[in-house]
Subunit: 212 residues, 2 copies
Amino acid sequence: MSTQAPAPTRREQILKEAARLFAERGFHGVGVDEIGAAVGISGPGLYRHFAGKEAMLAELLVGISGRLLTGGKRRTAEATEAGDAPAALLDSLIEGHIDFALDDRPLIILHDRELDRLRDTDRKLVRSLQRQYVELWVEVVRQVYPGLTEAEARACVHAVFGLLNSTPHLGRPGALPGREATAALLHRLALGAFGAAHDADGRAHASDALDR
Amino acid sequence: MSTQAPAPTRREQILKEAARLFAERGFHGVGVDEIGAAVGISGPGLYRHFAGKEAMLAELLVGISGRLLTGGKRRTAEATEAGDAPAALLDSLIEGHIDFALDDRPLIILHDRELDRLRDTDRKLVRSLQRQYVELWVEVVRQVYPGLTEAEARACVHAVFGLLNSTPHLGRPGALPGREATAALLHRLALGAFGAAHDADGRAHASDALDR
DNA sequence: CGTCGTGGTTAGTGGTCGTTAACTCGACAC
DNA sequence: GTGTCGAGTTAACGACCACTAACCACGACG
């Protein structure tokens, strides 16, 4: 019960502020002095907690990729155990990803923006986690929409990630009414996209969707 | 007819390579020497063509934002003149954006990634062009789906941009068969997303889409 | 044939930035 | 009390980098 009130440790403070700054101005655009200043200490004091600037980015990226994958696996396991239909699992995955996109905007930005600033070893780890997460989605999508080839399903998943991760581009105050409304809207959009991928697989230009 | 074979001038060469490098490693991650080397000259020779590194980025971002907006306006004018339905215009806008996303990947990446590295004056100009482009879409979307509020329509447009701009994340060789297939798939996904935003506006959770 | 603009070159400069070194200071163990 | 350790501090160093200076080649042109 002592662990439930997060009691933000120094490390976590630093990581949080670093994520915000990296997302705002880019990895190379923010100096260690700024990160230190953001948590009340100055400059090289950070080196008591991290091996270097890059180590912070690595921990952030590994952390988010890992949590996305873990969450996805957990939801898959729960759905399998409960005997849910694949469509319900896909729903659950979408919901989980939306929660992430809405609650951890800076991390979502970093996640596909600053990956190349990592050392080879860290980058490979992050890419592996990301790939597993994508594959998790691809499998579910193909169960829900069996007409899709694997390549199509993967492209759809990437596209829907782009859709769901678009939240940072909405003005900071949020032009949308509230969090719930935004989440519901994104959920509908994602499902609509997947559904459109499914129907009329082969040729089928826009015309058949236009005369709704 | 001498102008039709582009005859890539030095400036254009530099801009093209700079766009590629900026997209790969970020604005601060690439040095002027690298950009020079990419076009066969070295280092400060670039300053015969540009006022500075930032001027290159500014020209790239203003260029892409301007071309997107111009293309959108042209399509709108054509559709209005031809008396086309709003749905056909939306189709045309989607097609134009997809062409851009598939043909100018580095610029698409820069477009929403490095905007904050510009001087105030340039950044305001780019943002203004981007805003006009979004508003163009929002108007058309609201004509096609009158049930949407303006805020909802704007969120949908941003989300669909995220979807369409996801192409850079697909592996370089392109997991998809060909360009045409990818374009068609993205087109369907975008229309599906818009359509899903429209139907069941209020509450309407995923359930009604699940029992397809 | 001079001269002048264009598009290069190399060397240098000032500033920034990540990282390390050396030191301080309080908390706690024994 | 004394020693140790964790967590800061300031100062300095070395690398990098955008940009400038000074110089050069050469084609056009009168």
